[in-house]
């Protein structure tokens, strides 16, 4: 059974001014994600991929259609769908450990238990020794690692990532991809990852969903059969290159359409 089912979900934004045209951000879209699957949503900017993710998170509502998680309809944001944002969204007044424990606190867990889980997650994402640091004392990569740990500490059913490494430099981004992959190979969470980076979408995912330029709709749904665990050297393998060439072709057309608007 699919973990997450997206059924004919569409989103139309009302006109920004009187007499204007409403914006069709997302055409009716359907998608099913299997349990423990890692899928990336790939598309040019403004293709509605973030809108789709936000609807799954419950931060935006669909104009029509519905999202089902384990058969239950998604109506509002909740801890079962943890989200990592592109912007740094750690709470600046909380330490790394307190940030990771935020969701546990909202759930009412006793402090000792929260601390134990937070410390455990610090270790798992490679932030041991930084428990008492404030976010502003961390690099961008460390902040996003904390954000990932903050979501996973909450033990969500599905993890949503909205271009989480978009603001990082190339080297850090590559390392973060490996870290995320390692975590996923170990924890086996269902992951939905939005990106406009073709290489990133292939390297991480078992399935790449390509979206078209606005109004967004699914253009292709491609399996990535590279075996896990994946080493970064896979990026130079012929199979990887073939996929990359195929996706580049698909995305290029869309990027041109998007740029023409």
């Amino acid at each position: 059974m699919s973990k997450l089912v997206i059924e004919n979900v569409s989103r139309v934004f009302p006109p920004s001014h009187k007499g204007g045209q409403p914006t069709r951000a997302l055409e009716p879209t359907s998608l099913a994600i299997a349990d423990n699957d890692f899928i990336t949503i790939l598309g040019p900017s403004g293709c509605g991929k973030s809108t789709l993710l936000r609807i799954v998170a419950g931060l935006d509502h669909a104009t029509a259609g519905q999202v089902l998680l384990d058969g239950a309809e998604v109506k509002a944001p909740g801890p079962d769908r943890g989200m990592v944002f592109q912007s740094y969204t750690l709470f600046p007044w909380l330490t790394v450990a307190q940030n990771i424990a935020f969701g546990l606190r909202e759930r009412g867990l006793p402090e000792a238990e929260r601390l134990k889980i937070a410390q455990d997650w610090c270790q798992r994402v490679g932030l041991k020794g930084f428990e008492k640091h404030f976010p502003k004392q961390l690099s961008g990569g460390m902040q996003q690692r904390t954000a990932i740990a903050r979501v996973l500490a909450n033990n969500p059913k599905i993890m949503l990532l909205d271009e989480p490494f978009g603001a990082l430099d190339n080297q850090t981004r590559a390392l973060m991809q490996e870290t995320l992959l390692e975590i996923w190979e170990r924890e086996r969470k269902t992951v939905m990852f939005v990106t406009h980076d073709i290489e990133e979408s292939i390297f991480l995912a078992s399935r790449v969903v390509v979206m078209s330029a606005r109004p967004g709709r699914i253009k292709a749904d491609i399996r990535v059969d590279l075996p896990y665990p994946r080493h970064y050297t896979v990026k130079t393998s012929p199979a990887f290159s073939d996929l990359k060439a195929q996706l580049t072709e698909l995305i290029r057309v869309e990027a041109q359409t998007a740029a023409a608007h």
């Binding site: 998170a57 419950g58 931060l59 509002a76 944001p77 909740g78 801890p79 769908r81 943890g82 989200m83 944002f85 912007s87 969204t89 709470f91 600046p92 007044w93 909380l94 935020f102 969701g103 606190r105 909202e106 759930r107 404030f134 976010p135 502003k136 954000a147 903050r150 979501v151 909450n154 949503l160």
Partner: protein, 258 residues
């Protein structure tokens, strides 16, 4: 040496800050001792210091200072107790904001000093009236500024908290309030400075104690030395309270410092 936005050393900073006061007193001394200004209108610095000493020792000026501080702090704390929670509510809930905002924006422009005659009619010339002047002078400003700060909380932090399982109360208590707290402390520091102007005005009219009362008395006696001393005391107290506020903020919100 002088270049746009070029930082200066901390020693130079302190030195320049002190230099201003030296220049200021020097000009003052030159104008008064040199006889360019009549004594009746402006006392010289030495007379001011002597008058100040007499005020403190013979006329119980410390009691007046104490009364004024008490009034400012009392009125200000009352205003903050009303304004901070209301401002947070207005910043959080759009409906609450829509209900209060037009009135508060209107009330904000009513000068507190204009209320003094009315407040004397209502509350007499006792302490209640003084506290009310400060309360009216600061509460509306505080409400609006706190509301704007809370409403300006980063939306992505709120969204992150929702996806981590926070409910509405969790959002208010553990996102909106802590994220606005340093700015609210800064607002309190700012408005406390304004409260000082209101208290003096309140004491100028119908009061039997306080720094403002002393200033009016001194005016009747043409004692400009005492007036200037009183004004300087107000400035010094402001400086100290400002410093204490900054110190407290640094201690309370270490995370917000750059």
């Amino acid at each position: 040496m002088l270049r746009p936005l070029q930082p200066v050393s901390s020693a130079a900073r302190v030195g320049l800050g002190i230099l201003f006061f030296v220049v200021f007193v020097a000009v003052w001394a030159w104008a008064t001792f040199g006889g360019y200004v009549t004594r009746t209108f402006l006392a010289d610095p030495l007379t001011m210091v002597r008058e100040g000493y007499e005020l403190l020792v013979k006329h119980g000026f410390l009691y007046d200072i104490g009364m004024t501080i008490w009034r400012v702090v009392g009125g200000f704390v009352l205003a903050a107790l009303v304004a901070v929670p209301l401002g947070i509510l207005m910043g959080t809930y759009r409906a609450v904001e829509a209900f209060f905002e037009p009135f508060v924006s209107f009330a904000r422009y009513l000068p507190a000093s204009a209320f003094i005659p009315l407040l004397i009619l209502w509350a007499g010339i006792g302490e209640t009236q003084k506290l009310l002047v400060i309360f009216i002078g600061s509460v509306f400003q505080l409400i609006l500024m706190v509301a704007v700060t809370v409403a300006g909380t980063r939306r992505d932090l709120v969204e992150a908290a929702y996806t981590l399982g926070a409910k509405d109360w969790g959002i208010i208590a553990r996102v909106l309030i802590p994220s606005s707290a340093p700015a609210i402390a800064e607002i309190l520091r700012l408005v406390l400075g304004w409260a000082w102007t209101y208290v003096i005005v309140a004491e100028l009219i119908g009061s039997s104690s306080g720094i403002g009362h002393m200033i009016v008395d001194s005016q009747a006696l043409l004692n400009t030395g005492q007036i200037i001393f009183g004004i300087i005391i107000i400035g010094l107290i402001g400086l100290v309270s400002d410093f204490l506020f900054k110190l407290a903020n640094r201690w309370l919100f270490p995370w917000s410092l750059v």
